[in-house]
C-alpha cells in the first residue's frame, strides 16, 4: 500500500463539501477495484471452499501483460485488456488444475498453504522475468479529468471508468449466476457438492469455470488499478489482494452483492480515513471497522446462514 499512498489523489478539490464529495468519489473508485477483486475471492470461496491467496498475484501478472501490451507493443487499450483477460483466465485455470485440484480431498490447511506457495511462486517468477524495479504504467484513459461546478470539482476519468466497469460487472455476473444453467450449477456446487454430482453436474468443470471467471475479473481489476496507481512491480497484487479479501469477508464471503458492498465500503472508509484522520492509520481504521462488523454480524454484512431442516 506504501506505493499507493505516495500517489497524489487523482481528484483536485476546491471548497468544503466539494472536497468531501471528491474524496467520496475517489473512495468509491478505489472500492470498485476492491469489489472486482473481491468477487474472485468470494466466488472461489463459495464454490471451492478455499481461500485462493494467489488471487492477488494473478492481478500482478495481468498488470505486467497489460503493461507490455501497451508500452512495448503499442497495442490499443481494448486489445491490451483482452490480452490480459486471456492470460489471467488461462493462468487461473492452470493454477487450479496443477496446484489445487490434486488437493480436493486434503485438509483446508494444506490447500491454504499451497495457495500461499503459489502466491510466492508467481511473485518470484515475476521478479526473475521482469526484475523488481517498478515499471511505469500509462493510464488507459490518460490523466484527464472531468471538471464540474465551474472548476470547483474534478473527477479523474479513470475513476468514472472504474465505477462504471464495476457496476456493469456486478449486473452481468448476477444475471449470469441467477439465470443461466452454469450459474445454477455453480450455486448447487456451492451448497452441496455431492448432491450436485447426483444431478449429473461436473463439479471439477464447474470449479474450473469459477476460477476462470475470477481470474478474468482480476485482469480487468489490474488494468483499472494500474491506471490509477501507475506502477507495476512483482508484489503489486499483495496489498490490494488482502484488502479485497477483507472486503469479501466484510460483505459476506460467498455472496456477490456482498463483495460489491464490502468493496465499496472498504474503499470509502480507507479514502476518507486518509483524507480526514491519518494516512498512516487508514489501514488500521479499515481493519478496526472489519472487526466491529464481524463482532456484530459474524457472517458479514450480506452473509446468510440457512439452517438445516431434518
Amino acid at each position: 500500500m506504501a506505493e499507493a499512498v505516495k500517489q497524489p489523489l487523482p481528484v483536485l478539490v476546491i471548497g468544503g463539501s466539494m472536497v468531501f464529495l471528491s474524496y467520496l468519489i475517489t473512495g468509491i473508485g478505489l472500492g470498485s477495484v476492491y469489489a472486482i477483486i473481491a468477487l474472485g475471492y468470494s466466488m472461489v470461496y463459495g464454490i471451492a471452499k478455499m481461500l485462493n491467496f494467489a488471487h492477488g498475484d494473478v492481478i500482478m501478472i495481468g498488470a505486467y501483460v497489460a503493461f507490455f501490451a501497451l508500452s512495448r507493443y503499442n497495442l490499443p487499450a481494448v486489445a491490451a485488456v483482452l490480452l490480459a483477460i486471456a492470460v489471467c483466465t488461462t493462468l487461473g485455470v492452470l493454477i487450479e488444475r496443477l496446484a489445487y485440484k490434486p488437493l480436493r480431498q486434503a485438509t483446508s490447511l494444506s490447500v491454504l498453504i499451497t495457495a500461499i506457495g503459489v502466491s510466492y511462486f508467481l511473485q518470484n517468477m515475476a521478479q526473475l522475468l521482469w526484475s523488481s524495479s517498478p515499471k511505469i504504467f500509462s493510464s488507459i484513459v490518460g490523466n484527464r479529468s472531468l471538471t464540474l461546478f465551474d472548476g470547483k470539482m474534478s473527477i479523474a476519468y479513470i475513476n468514472i471508468l472504474t465505477i462504471i466497469t464495476c457496476i456493469v460487472i456486478m449486473i452481468v455476473l448476477t444475471l449470469f449466476i441467477n439465470n443461466t444453467k452454469i450459474g445454477r450449477a455453480m450455486r448447487a456446487c456451492s451448497e452441496d457438492k455431492d448432491a450436485a454430482k447426483l444431478m449429473g453436474i461436473n463439479v471439477n468443470k464447474t470449479i474450473s469455470i469459477t476460477f476462470a471467471i475470477g481470474s478474468g475479473l482480476a485482469a480487468i481489476a489490474s488494468v483499472l488499478l494500474c491506471s490509477t496507481y501507475p506502477s507495476v512491480y512483482p508484489t503489486l497484487g499483495s496489498m490490494p489482494g488482502i484488502k479485497a479479501f477483507t472486503a469479501a469477508v466484510f460483505g459476506g464471503i460467498g455472496s456477490i452483492p456482498g463483495a460489491f458492498v464490502g468493496g465499496l465500503l472498504l474503499g470509502i472508509i480507507e479514502n476518507l480515513s486518509k483524507a480526514y484522520i491519518s494516512t498512516q492509520l487508514s489501514d488500521a481504521i479499515v481493519f478496526a471497522v472489519l472487526i466491529i462488523v464481524l463482532l456484530i454480524k459474524p457472517t458479514g454484512i450480506l452473509g446468510k446462514k440457512v439452517n438445516e431442516k431434518v
Partner: protein, 232 residues
C-alpha cells in the same frame, strides 16, 4: 438390470461393505433394509459414483458403472434421492426441479406436468426457497427433482426418515405409483415393515454383509426379520 457383484467398500481401515451381492430386476421394487450403520448408504453412494470401492463390480444392463464418474452414471438414468433429501436449500423449488433435469438435452415439459400432478403442493411453491419447505415437502421435492432426470432406476435412500406416519404412507404410495410407470426402484430403508410391504424382492443387511434375501412376503414372514426389524 442392476447387478452388484462382490462389492467391498472401506473408509480407511474400516470396511463398511464386505463382499455384497445384489441383483435388481427390470421394473421391480427391490429393497435393502438394515439397522443404522449396516452399510446401506455406502452402497448407494458407490452406485452413484460418489465413492470408489475397494473391490467388486456394478453393472447396469451389462455396462460397468465403476468405470464411470457420477456425471456419466446420471446420464445412464441411474438417479438417486439421497438420504436426508439434500435439496438445495438456498435455491427456489423451481430451480431445484430444473437442476434435476441438468443432464437432459431434450424437452422436459412432460416431466414438469407429471411431477406437478404427483405433488400439486410443489406447484404452489415454485418460487419459494426450498429451505423453507417442511420435511415432507422437501422429500417430495427431492423425488420430483429425481423424476426430472427421467430415471431408468431410482435409488431412494431412507425416504421415510423423520416423517410423520401419515406422510410416510403418502411417500410410499408415490413410490408405488412411480414404479407402476415402469421405473425400477431400489429402496434403502430402516422402516422395514413399510419397505417389505411394497417390495418385490428384499435384502437384509447386517454390519456390511447381506444376512438374508428373499421376496418381500418371505422376509415379512421370517421369524428373524420379525424379531429384529418388525418389532414382533
Amino acid at each position: 438390470m442392476l447387478e452388484i457383484k462382490d462389492l467391498s467398500v472401506s473408509y480407511g481401515m474400516i470396511e463398511a461393505v464386505k463382499g455384497v451381492n445384489i441383483t435388481i430386476k427390470d421394473g421391480e421394487i427391490c429393497t435393502l433394509i438394515g439397522a443404522n450403520g449396516a452399510g446401506k448408504t455406502t452402497i448407494m453412494h458407490t452406485i452413484s459414483g460418489l465413492l470408489t470401492p475397494k473391490s467388486g463390480q456394478i453393472f447396469l444392463d451389462g455396462e460397468d458403472l465403476l468405470k464411470m464418474d457420477s456425471e456419466e452414471i446420471v446420464k445412464r438414468g441411474v438417479i438417486q434421492v439421497p438420504e436426508g433429501r439434500r435439496i438445495f436449500q438456498k435455491m427456489s423449488v423451481y430451480e431445484n426441479i430444473l437442476l434435476g433435469a441438468y443432464q437432459r438435452k431434450d424437452s422436459y415439459d412432460d416431466e414438469f406436468e407429471y411431477i406437478y400432478s404427483l405433488f400439486p403442493i410443489l406447484k404452489e411453491r415454485t418460487s419459494q426457497l426450498a429451505g423453507t419447505l417442511s420435511g415432507g415437502e422437501q422429500q417430495m421435492l427431492a423425488i420430483a427433482r429425481a423424476l426430472m432426470a427421467k430415471p431408468k432406476i431410482m435409488l431412494l435412500d431412507e425416504p421415510s426418515m423423520g416423517l410423520a406416519p401419515l406422510l410416510v404412507r403418502n411417500i410410499f404410495d408415490i413410490i408405488k405409483t412411480i414404479n407402476s410407470t415402469g421405473t425400477t426402484i431400489f429402496l434403502v430403508e430402516q422402516n422395514a415393515s413399510m419397505a417389505l410391504a411394497i417390495a418385490n424382492h428384499a435384502y437384509v443387511m447386517e454390519t456390511g454383509r447381506i444376512a438374508l434375501e428373499g421376496s418381500g412376503e418371505e422376509l415379512s414372514a421370517s421369524e428373524k426379520v420379525q424379531k429384529l426389524y418388525l418389532g414382533g
